[in-house]
């Protein structure tokens, strides 16, 4: 029997995601090196500590732009509704592998993560610019730079912890990584984890097929 697949992420979305992801890894490596003396050696990944210091903010800019493109792609799918509240109230049950609620494209956890990441990015950009010694710091009073450094570190650490959860969720829910690597998920996966999204996609495909529209979902 052939697997029946549904496209979840287009090529552009996948490239977008992985550009942001690669930037994140580079930023986390250099950022943790600046934050933890014991991890200072991680700056060696960039050649020298000085190069790590130079590269970090530029990569940060790329990540911010990439993330904002993602934000405008997905924000409308991330409004938290009643089903998500139900999901969020049943996290222990979810963690035991039981689905809760009639989940749409994203579940409550994913939506929460979306807004958490957005909040972190919105803190990271301005604080990062203020702390960017080579170009901007001189225009700010020292107490402002201190606050910027503190909040930059806070937001970064919250984001890192969030990304660990994000990555783990993708590893835990089998068939998820494929969505961001190949762009597709199985219909079984969709039906189980995102039933409302599954119905929407299938309904739309059926309607399009009937009116002689575009291709039905990949099968």
């Amino acid at each position: 029997m052939k697997e029946r697949l549904i496209q979840r992420y287009t090529r552009a979305e996948r490239i977008n995601h992985w550009v942001v992801a690669i930037c994140f890894v580079l930023l986390a490596i250099s950022g943790l090196a600046f934050f933890y003396p014991a991890f200072f050696w991680l700056t060696g990944v960039f050649g020298t500590p000085q190069l790590a210091r130079i590269i970090h903010p530029f990569v940060g800019l790329i990540m911010f732009i990439g993330f904002m493109v993602q934000f405008f792609r997905y924000w409308r799918y991330n409004f938290i509704d009643k089903e998500d509240v139900k999901w969020m109230k049943s996290v222990p049950e979810v963690l035991n592998g039981h689905e809760v609620g009639d989940t749409g494209k994203y579940n409550g956890g994913q939506k929460g993560m979306f807004w958490l990441m957005t909040a972190c990015m919105l803190v990271l950009l301005p604080t990062g610019l203020i702390a960017w010694r080579a170009y901007f710091s001189e225009y700010f009073p020292i107490p402002a730079i201190r606050l910027a450094l503190l909040f930059h570190a806070w937001a970064a650490l919250v984001l890192i912890a969030g990304i660990i959860v994000h990555v783990y969720a993708a590893i835990w829910v089998k068939g998820t990584i494929r969505a961001m690597v190949e762009g597709v998920v199985t219909q079984t996966w969709a039906k189980k984890h995102h039933p409302r999204w599954y119905r929407e996609v299938m309904g739309k495909a059926k309607a399009e097929a009937e009116t002689g529209g575009k291709n039905p979902p990949k099968s």
């Binding site: 029997m1 697997e3 090196a33 600046f34 934050f35 933890y36 003396p37 014991a38 200072f40 700056t43 500590p49 000085q50 790590a52 210091r53 963690l95 035991n96 592998g97 702390a131 010694r133 080579a134 710091s137 020292i142 107490p143 730079i145 201190r146 606050l147 450094l149 503190l150 570190a153 806070w154 650490l157 919250v158 890192i160 912890a161 660990i164 959860v165 783990y168 590893i171 835990w172 829910v173 089998k174 068939g175 199985t186 079984t188 996966w189 039906k191 189980k192 984890h193």
Partner: protein
């Protein structure tokens, strides 16, 4: 190995359980700047520039005596001129500004690069620019706004208290050149004694609030001022009244670290143990069971 490197008390971004070499325990030194005998000749600025072979760019006249107008990566000390009215008369307060060599240095606390900032047992706080990465954290860590990042090489610079001269038993260049003896150098205890003599004199001359500036908030400094108005250090071009490492910097370099370690470790470990206990979350294909080669029943076709 330079002998100097054997008397390191603290080293930036280096844990206390792996201390730097510190078998040499020289006596704690201090520079005493008697603001009340300073005539603002700027000979100390010149001596600093000469000894350290630094030549700042020629600046512009800002309409005040301060020249250059601020510390730079190439001007490690500047005279600050303040005109104030105290005791019903005009007073011209001149303070030689520069690194205070704090016992509890905010720059060293903030620095992320191992060995870019060191504190010697004699109290001198020194930047080792070859290890500096140019992040500017020291600038935000300093309670006195002293370090400056050079525009060309992106390294932090400040007064070294002539650590090279002190290491071979000489006084700093500014001390040697001061024509009025307003800058003195020696063991910190001795300098306190000298200051007491000066304070007695100042008290006799009517300066009831004269005092020694050796702020406790940063654990004391290795550059001390004799001030005629020690109750109002702000008069001296904004010398901070109660300097200490900013609570923001302390939170950032203190509490946040263990908290972050806990958070990241908790997220990682929780994930790992969740996986090995609950196991993966699979969406099983709804399909017929098939018989495998060995005759056993398999759930999925691909397993055959």
């Amino acid at each position: 190995m330079a002998l100097q490197s054997l008397d390191i008390k603290r080293r930036s971004a280096t844990a206390g359980i792996t201390p730097p070499p510190g078998v040499r325990q020289p006596v704690e030194v201090a520079k005493l700047i008697d603001v009340t005998t300073c005539i603002g000749c700027k000979a100390c600025q010149v001596a600093c520039s000469e000894w350290n072979d630094i030549r700042d760019d020629i600046g512009i006249n800002h309409g005040v005596y301060d020249n250059p107008i601020d510390l730079t990566s190439k001007s490690w000390t500047v005279m600050r001129f303040s005109e104030v009215e105290e005791n019903g008369k005009l007073e011209w307060l001149i303070r030689k500004d520069g690194c205070m060599h704090c016992a509890d240095p905010g720059c060293l606390k903030a620095c992320p690069s191992p060995g870019a900032i060191v504190q010697y047992h004699n109290g001198i706080v020194d930047f080792h620019e070859e290890n500096c990465i140019g992040c500017g954290y020291c600038v935000s860590g300093c309670p006195f706004n002293i370090p400056r990042i050079d525009k060309q090489d992106q390294k932090a610079y400040k007064c070294t208290l002539c650590s090279d001269r002190v290491a071979v038993g000489q006084e700093p260049a500014c001390v040697k050149t001061c024509p009025t003896g307003a800058i003195q150098f020696g063991a910190k205890e001795d300098m306190k004694q000298v200051a007491q003599e000066r304070l007695k004199d100042l008290n006799n001359r009517g300066y009831k609030n004269a005092g020694l500036y050796d702020p406790e908030g940063v654990g004391g400094t290795h550059v001390m001022y004799v001030l005629q108005h020690a109750d109002k250090p702000e008069l001296y071009h904004g010398l901070p009244n109660n300097p200490s490492i900013s609570p923001t910097v302390k939170l950032w370099k203190g509490l946040l670290k263990p908290l972050a370690t806990f958070g990241i470790a908790a997220a990682t470990l929780a994930g790992f143990f969740h996986y090995v206990t609950v196991g993966p979350n699979r969406a099983e294909e709804e399909e017929a069971e098939v018989i495998g080669k060995e005759g056993d029943i398999l759930k999925r076709e691909e397993d055959a």
